[in-house]
Symmetry: D2
Subunit: 401 residues, 4 copies
């Protein structure tokens, strides 16, 4: 049987830890595949890499292990049960053996100020940082005899990089790298470059804008690998993209859409930093204007509320105008656990990118827009049209097989 690797950048974060526990439980057939889109009926007949063929490894900047991270989630957040941890303990220990110290590069004070960082994670020469990534990825692939490896960026959201001419053209970016000039690089940029170097599909599940700069997209296209991002659509924005079409169908004019997000995990702590939050908020707020096609008053706020842990709570207020100019409202409260919602999507996307690679497809994968707040290169924000795009792709993948 063939084997495929998923290389998690941010391997002991909430999403990765939940993913590792869940994938192990699925491989052991201990749980049903709830929340996993790639195991729902629309994928019947599509030759995805089987769950049991997937092998995890990754980079983590903190001196942490999956086993202890999982225990902490169980204790603090309740989204992993003690019974589950017992079931998957051995597997987590094995994966922990495949997790290496990660790379910090222009990551900003919020991230580089995290407690418990490994010693060897700070780099100033981009060549050395990239070299470390390549060595670790190669060893992961060889030691585990993997046919393909997908590189997944699920680390904390980076601040937006300073604009730089090298961001626009792959050759220029390579020149700065060759010269050892770190200015235009963020950690996410280097991970994406590593994926291009090794012919690995690349997934940016975060809003980090350094990951899919125009120059990087060029590099990935030149390497003929499929890639996609950015910013997994897990909660409030998912609901937004399901509801906005309703107003359009009925010619109900949205006057104001205010969204307030409360969360308390490490992600929330990082996003309490303005520089990191602004990239996230921009990602969450652009959807409405793009989709509706008329100006409206809208705002997205993210607040750090430590007591909530990973149990995100979002309240949205939608004020709209109907017949005779009458004003009405819809409000919703979303209470979801971000890691629980994100982890299966990462599995889905990794499988789909591996499939694309096997089918010798490359470049951005617009049929995966359904999974992202800011789908790369795409302006399709209607959840339902996104779902139909996926359906069309699956139909062609099914026919071809």
């Amino acid at each position: 049987m063939r084997s495929y690797g998923i290389w998690l950048v941010g391997a002991c974060g909430g999403v990765s830890t939940t993913l590792a526990c869940g994938l192990s439980a699925l491989q052991r057939e201990a749980i049903p595949p709830s929340g996993l889109v790639s195991s729902s009926p629309i994928f019947d007949g599509v030759q995805l890499p089987p769950l049991k063929s997937l092998v995890l490894g990754g980079h983590e900047i903190r001196d942490e292990s999956l086993v202890s991270a999982a225990r902490q989630i169980a204790r603090d957040n309740g989204s992993l049960s003690i019974e589950l941890l017992e079931t998957v303990q051995d597997d987590l220990e094995q994966i922990d053996g495949r997790i290496e110290p990660g790379v910090l590069f222009n990551s900003g004070p919020a991230i580089s100020g995290l407690e418990g960082l490994h010693d060897q994670v700070n780099f100033t020469d981009p060549r050395l940082a990239l070299e470390r990534i390549l060595v670790d990825l190669n060893r992961f692939k060889e030691e585990n005899r993997l046919d393909e490896v997908v590189v997944v960026f699920v680390a904390s959201t980076e601040p937006a990089p300073e604009p730089h001419p090298a961001h626009e053209v792959s050759s220029k970016l390579e020149e700065h790298l060759a010269a050892g000039d770190g200015t235009p690089f963020l950690a996410s940029t280097l991970y994406a470059m590593a994926a291009a170097r090794l012919g690995c599909p690349f997934l940016n599940f975060t809003p980090s804008p350094g990951a899919l700069l125009p120059a990087i997209a060029q590099l990935l296209e030149e390497a003929a690998v499929p890639f996609m991002g950015s910013d997994g659509k897990t909660g409030e924005t998912l609901v937004k993209s399901a509801l906005a079409p309703m107003f359009k169908y009925r010619n109900l004019k949205i006057l104001s859409w205010q969204g307030y997000n409360l969360l308390g995990d490490r992600d929330g702590e990082i996003l309490a930093h303005e520089a990191n939050r602004s990239t996230k908020v921009a990602s969450k707020d652009q959807l409405l204007r793009d989709y509706l096609g008329y100006p409206l008053h809208s705002k997205v706020t993210i607040d750090y509320v430590p007591s909530l842990g990973d149990n995100k709570t979002a309240w949205d207020f939608i004020h709209f105008e109907g017949f005779l100019g009458h004003r009405m409202s819809l409000q919703f409260t979303w209470q979801g656990c971000d890691s629980i919602l994100a982890a299966p999507l990462v599995i889905d996307l990794a499988r789909m990118l591996l499939l694309a690679k096997l089918r010798q497809e490359s470049g951005p994968q617009p049929h995966l827009s359904l999974f992202f707040k800011s789908p790369f290169g795409g302006d399709e924000h209607d959840l339902h049209r996104q779902f139909h795009l996926l359906g069309d792709y699956l139909a062609s993948a099914r026919d071809a097989s």
Copy 2:
């Protein structure tokens, strides 16, 4: 210019009164067409009957006028403004001249117990009741030189009729009519028969089950007229049908969906009667099970809260299960004015049914499912697929023209 009639059964109720005010204001170009689907861009190039070609008339069982009903809505509910009433006053008076006393027939104690009924509305012989309807419809058509007339049932929700063999076969229903046996008939049944007799398109905008019995559908098909129903999708169910697909797309399993509807107008008062409410609740509750394809715990409650008037408030609580069996929730509060939401849909549907008649189409119109809680003959409850059905139809109508 050609002219088309809309015959409103329940002509001075909240929906009809709002419709009359709004249509008049639209014809006078005093307001923009917010909330009117048939004036949104997807209808560009489709040869719908123009708004200015529409003429209103109808039946009303209460001794009431549009002018006074509109004033009461302005005072009690605030959804019609004094300025608007001044603009449309003359038009309302003209329409009032085209409203005749309606027909009560096995309508149940809630409806026949309403205050202020006309004297001449009670019938026991279905032949006499039908005759009255036919006479009034014919006069409306002739006096106003109308090319076509669509019959629209927007009266209060009737209780479900006792099951009767004649409900299944049109010939049997005709036999009972001929024999003067009123048992199998409700008022809505007779209105639909009248539409069939005169070749008028028929619209059941209410959940009243007597309107589109199998025998009635046969009659309408035999008369080669287009028809559609039932139960306009204006509020909570609209949101439901937009959100349910989101859970399906993401393989998130809905465990419970509880919906609580609070409303205070005459509709709410009628629905406070168990017999009338049960037909409504059934219509609101069937959607989820049909759509999701698995059993779930769900409940729809309608409560009469007089202080709200027509400002419906609905709270829905959705409990769902994601990855690793983790439970999360979404709740929403919808605050909308039912008449404001319903009135433009009736205009949309009337125009679409008139278009169908002009295009010599007949029978149920599944591309109008978007507008109904219980689309006739259809099992399509996904709002987005419903919208695509409409889009496909409009594309073909556009090509043909």
Copy 3:
């Protein structure tokens, strides 16, 4: 050191199990006393029975143990953690040794139809049922060398008993008992009689109306024991009693107050039975009318939503009128775990009733109204005045000591 017993009727239900775990953890000083009113500063200087002096025992009709009930709650509901269960395991086993099969008596089909009932719990002769209770209570007191024992009714809500003349006069009730006529008795009635017989304080924490019938109150007064009830105020009604005064203070007129309660535990299952629910709903709904002193439209609904387990979710909608008759609204969603909220109140009340006994007080204890939806004999529903009543009592208890 003196020791005091708490005899829990319904000893393995959610409230009792949570209470047992929590009390054990408090006695072991493993947790802080959050949620325990009797450990808050207002009790400083009051000579309450110390937490470590309390000994648990009780009756349970189901063949169940605290150890297994606690595990099930940990698994299904998450409100007891695995770490906690490990801490208290030994104590729970000891308490399990003091739990005896309970008494079913005219308890209605919902309760007597529960799965897993003990064999010996059905009685038809009230003398035999009472005898069983007395024997078990006496043995509990003697074997554990307890100075006082408080009898606490926390079993499932019984249906309202058929009205009976013997409910009004203690002597008549005794006559029917002597004659072996079970008609006027419910299980809760017999437990309260047992408390009177043995001079034990009595607490009805449920809305079961059989527990504090006028004849029973007489018996308890004659026995010179303090008692109180009914129906612990844990969630939605607590919020109601905190908010209603706000509207009164500001002369804002409440037009409608609709309350919807969703819960999924055994309590919810029992309350899904109309007979049992109606006693609960009456208890929840009377507060507003009594307090506000004017008629308003109000409704309380309780729905069984199994997926919620013990995580009660309540939505209340309050419609009110201010200056110039303008209508406004307040809505709230309460998400609380019923057992977690109730268990500490039972400890508080048991300690307060024991204190009253030690202070040789008897009869109803109006200063405990704060804790009840339907405070016995009292018409004080203003949460804040209730709190002041408690404060006044504590001041006098403090002075006296």
Copy 4:
């Protein structure tokens, strides 16, 4: 009959306009006194100035009239009805004759940038500004033969003034005034000084911190006039102060309290300016910490949402910990019209301050804390204790009469 004046600073704003309409309608006995605390039963037997004895006048910086402001509110917001405007039209015109151009003084760019300002409102010499206020107040009193006049500050919230030594000591403030140095003065400061000069009671209904600086409080005390402030408690904070005690009573520990306020009127537009908002937010946020006595995570946000007009919508999320450390939540949505809520409180406070003056009381009035977010000199934030303070005062006022 004696007559009393209410001098409204900000006389054509939403609160003043609503007040003027409502007071006129009350004087004409056209409406019941809903929302007016001073007309509720707790005031029975207290010799308040009767509603019919009250005469309105004031200052307004914009070139606006009550008649046109009322029409705009009716049209845009719906909180004043056309029928009401017809009833009070004559009275509004009379009051308009008593409204003079107001005073801008260090009011900040948000306020001085408002459209439609009068020409003569900008001052740089505080002596001239104060003189204008004194002249206008004196004329108001004389021409209307008023026994007493209360000065009420209901203008837009000013930014916090730069700290200045003269803010602390009345004599220093007088020195700067005498020297024509405007640095330490804001418009609200000058209005309060004018009240002190003329022996008028003074009310700061806004959070503007310039109105009740320590030096100003000294001046008002020296003038032996009663005064009170700041920031009328109308909505979200009112609910907060009703709910916070509930958690305290039950020993439930609040972990986080997040409050989001959405509003769209001129007030909201001014508060969209950070400098103006920060004084408001501070006022709303201090309550919890003061009252609960332990640190908690809390945040208050105010967002400008133009489509809402004066219909404020606030969502609060309260995360709390109960028994066994279990976390639960309460969330509420408040939908109220700010002017409708504020206007009657201004009448209540004006009557109470006039009563105090007649009773020869002076200085701050702590029994009016109930009406304020930041009661002057007081640290009582418990709504219920505040109500009891008022009750005690009224009892003594009743006895004395």
